[in-house]
């Protein structure tokens, strides 16, 4: 056969940029950049494992995020990247074969695809500036990228120039993006985006923030999610830890489980939707929460186990996997979900079911005398998971039936009327159940008692 032509197998640069940025959101890109900064800081702090009860001191680490509908900037003081790293690893596409293995390093970020994908997704005029220590001296460089020009370049060498630059205030990275993509403009213009990003950071980096990490979003410091669980004589959260071994490699696992909100008082699923949104299982890998408030089969719910029901609202379970062998962690490539095929994760799931089952049993049991249950629940105080004491099982009280024969009174009523009556009784925030109960007792006292 004769060759008659060639099919150009080289993907064009523009096509590559489109494919690269296709399946990720602007928010996840920002979190990828944060992962890189946090990882650098972690290396600087000696790569100590980050668990619920121990971890390195992040109080000197600071990451600033600033954005509006014209530009985006992330700055950190996490040591920066060396020029050699930029030349050989950080700004290449994927990792080259001669990259050192990631052993002995507890990391979540990878200077691989994440950095390029993030900046290409956000804009077209990019500058990555680094200031770092090398031996005795302090060096700086910048990598300017004009994406519009870069995609037009027909050469087969996919390179970015590295130029001299003034030093940053701190040893670290400053990534600035202008010429925002339409999607980035749209995202940053949404009044809801800043709050959503802040809350995602507060939740996903809760362990780091608890250890002092400072993150600022448009000048406002992010307060870490506190994950407080109820504690009293009758209720105690579970806190267990153990080690899983896979081929002589170790993964440390911890579980903290309890309830963060009192069980719902009404059968109204629309009440306190925010609490239901926060309930469920959280999974952390090397300190970062990769799955939050899960109520699906990805953790325990469904399959051979009860599926999630709003009745279980309040339950909070956190499982944290820590290891220097990141390939053993149940991380997916997006770092935003769990890899169900992970051996360590499969071994841990039965242990997650124990406290969950205890909670489900309790929420069923408490229906026997909901009022008595509420009294006991209200006596508990809320304690941070970071101060939790070891306890083999989730402790819950046993509610027994002590009251007279009871019947449920149930009827629909316009929400505005309930709110108004609640206000008359003392608070517009009273639950529907409380208002109904007060209305009944009020009428009873007026019309019936005195005859008893």
């Amino acid at each position: 056969m004769e060759q008659i032509s060639t099919a150009d197998a080289n993907a064009s640069r523009a096509f590559f940029v489109r494919m690269l940025t296709r399946d990720i959101s602007v928010e996840d890109c920002i979190l990828d950049l944060m992962d890189n900064s946090v990882d650098s800081a972690w290396k600087k702090l000696g790569k100590k494992p980050l668990t619920f009860t121990a971890g390195p001191d992040f109080s000197e680490t600071r990451i600033d995020l600033k954005f509006d509908n014209e530009s985006f900037c992330i700055t950190d003081n996490c040591g920066g990247m060396s020029q050699e790293s930029a030349e050989k690893h950080a700004l290449t596409f994927g990792r080259k074969d001669d990259d050192p293995e990631d052993s002995g390093e507890f990391s979540i970020g990878v200077y691989g695809i994440g950095l390029k994908r993030a900046v290409f997704k956000i804009g077209t005029q990019i500058e990555i500036r680094s200031t770092y220590q090398t031996g005795t001296s302090r060096k700086s460089f910048a990598v300017p990228i004009d994406v519009n020009e870069w995609v037009k370049d027909p050469s087969n060498d996919w390179e970015f120039p590295i130029v001299t630059a003034d030093a940053l205030k701190n040893d670290g990275l400053a990534i600035e993006v202008k010429g925002l993509t339409p999607l980035a403009v749209f995202t940053f213009s949404d009044p809801e985006f800043e709050g959503t990003l802040v809350r995602t950071i507060a939740r996903d980096y809760a362990l780091h923030l608890h250890r002092g990490l400072k993150v600022y979003v448009n000048g406002e410091r992010v307060k870490g999610e506190e994950f407080k669980l109820y504690l009293s004589e009758e209720f105690s959260p579970q806190y267990v830890k153990w080690t899983e071994e896979v081929d002589d490699k170790e993964v440390n696992v911890e579980i903290v489980a309890g309830f963060a909100f009192p069980p719902p008082s009404d059968n109204n699923p629309s009440d306190r939707r925010d609490r239901e949104e926060k309930s469920g299982w959280y999974v952390a890998c090397n300190g970062r929460i990769v799955m939050a408030a899960d109520k699906s089969a990805l953790t325990v719910w469904g399959d051979d186990f009860p599926a999630w029901h709003p009745q279980y609202t309040g339950f909070l379970g956190l499982i944290a996997f820590t290891s220097e062998h990141t390939e053993l962690l149940p991380l997916t490539t997006t770092k935003r979900s769990v890899d169900l095929s992970s051996i360590v994760y499969r071994r841990s799931r039965p242990k997650m079911k124990e406290p969950t089952r205890a909670w489900i049993t309790y929420t069923n049991n408490r229906k026997v005398d909901q009022l008595a249950a509420e009294v006991i629940e209200q006596q508990a105080t809320r304690e941070s998971i970071f101060a939790v004491k070891p306890q083999a099982q989730l402790a819950v009280p046993q509610i027994s039936k002590t009251r007279a024969r009871e019947t449920i009174i149930q009827f629909p009523m316009a929400k505005e009327r309930i709110t108004a009556l609640g206000g008359a009784f003392g608070s517009v925030r009273m639950s529907a159940r409380e208002v109904g109960l007060k209305a009944f007792n009020y009428s009873y006292d007026e019309l019936v008692s005195g005859d008893e």
């Binding site: 213009s189 709050g195 505005e416 206000g423 003392g426 608070s427 925030r429």
Partner: protein
């Protein structure tokens, strides 16, 4: 000691509400020059007085009008008191009537509408749903206005309760840290105005992507209750910059920087003050004293800012 009676409020006369209405219609009159309202409708809650409907017809020339009234007796009285034959009365809650206008009618959804959801009560989840619905359904050149009550007790008995309510209603639009002072007194009005505007802007960005709304109205006013009015324009794409320019211009009256708190004046006081307002400088307390009476500084400032919309009332005793 209770408030002296000359500072008290006569519920049936609400000068701040009147001024607010005057400012809104002055703004609408200006917007009319940049938008096409030849077939526009006015949708409101006229009650039995229809004050805004009369203004909408006189000032804006609108003759397609819909008034919504939920109370059965109120409805019959409203039908009786309609100022014009072309006002269509609709009985029911806005929650049901507004969607039926957009979904069940033929002409209404194809033309612009100036919709003023003028509630007496506080803002809640149902009202935010209605607001989002109108934002999603709005045709080009429409305007949405929302008025609601910003009195503290509608939202909780103390600052921490009110913060919880605000968080439940507005979710991620509320910053992580919010001070109790921002949900107290008049400031609660400002906070709720900003957050409601954010809801409108956020939803409009999502549904009208390349051509989002232009926030145009933001007034906090107080008679006996603290009230908030916010509003936005949904211009046709090619009119977007003209509207933005107008709303951001110095002559725009729809976003006064201070809350509207009108002093209650006798007609004699109001006429004398008005006749003596200097063109270029400001009226001082000394000036007022020379005129023969006295007022507090904020009252003088409020009158000077809003005298053109000041109501004149005559009480008819028969």
């Amino acid at each position: 000691m209770s408030e002296p009676s000359f500072k008290g409020v006569n519920y049936s006369i609400r000068p701040s509400k009147t001024i607010q209405r005057g400012l809104v219609f002055e703004g609408l009159r200006a917007l009319r020059e940049d938008l096409d309202w030849t077939k526009a409708s006015y949708v409101g809650m006229g009650s039995i007085w229809f004050t805004d409907f009369v203004l909408a017809h006189k000032a804006l020339g609108l003759s397609r009008m819909v008034s919504i009234e939920g109370h059965p007796i109120g409805f019959r009285r409203a039908v009786f008191n309609k100022p014009y034959s072309f006002v269509r009365m609709k009985e029911g809650l806005t929650y049901n009537v507004i969607p039926s206008l957009y979904e069940d009618e033929v002409r209404f959804p194809n033309n612009p509408a100036i919709v003023w959801l003028d509630y007496d009560e506080g803002i809640n989840e149902a009202k935010l749903d209605e607001i989002r619905y109108v934002v999603e359904s709005a045709t080009d050149d429409s305007v949405l206005l929302v008025t609601f009550n910003a009195n503290e007790h509608h939202y909780g008995i103390d600052p921490s309760e009110r913060i919880e309510t605000v968080r439940e209603l507005f979710g991620n639009l509320v910053p992580q840290r919010i001070k109790g002072s921002r949900v107290t007194g008049l400031r609660l009005g400002n906070t709720l105005a900003d957050l409601t505007e954010d809801v409108i802007r956020s939803r409009s960005l999502k549904v009208r992507k390349p051509n989002p709304c232009v926030p145009a109205f933001r007034l906090v006013y107080q008679d006996s209750a603290t009230m908030v009015t916010v509003g936005a324009v949904f211009p046709r794409a090619d009119r977007h910059s003209a509207i933005k320019r107008r709303v951001n211009g110095r002559a725009w009256v729809g976003r006064p920087s201070d809350p509207v708190i009108a002093p209650h004046l006798t007609s004699k006081e109001a006429s004398v003050l008005q006749a003596n307002l200097p063109l270029r400088s400001t009226l001082t307390r000394g000036d007022v004293r020379k005129l023969g009476f006295d007022l507090e500084e904020e009252q003088i400032r409020a009158f000077s800012n809003f005298y053109r919309h000041y109501p004149t009332f005559a009480q008819v005793v028969s």
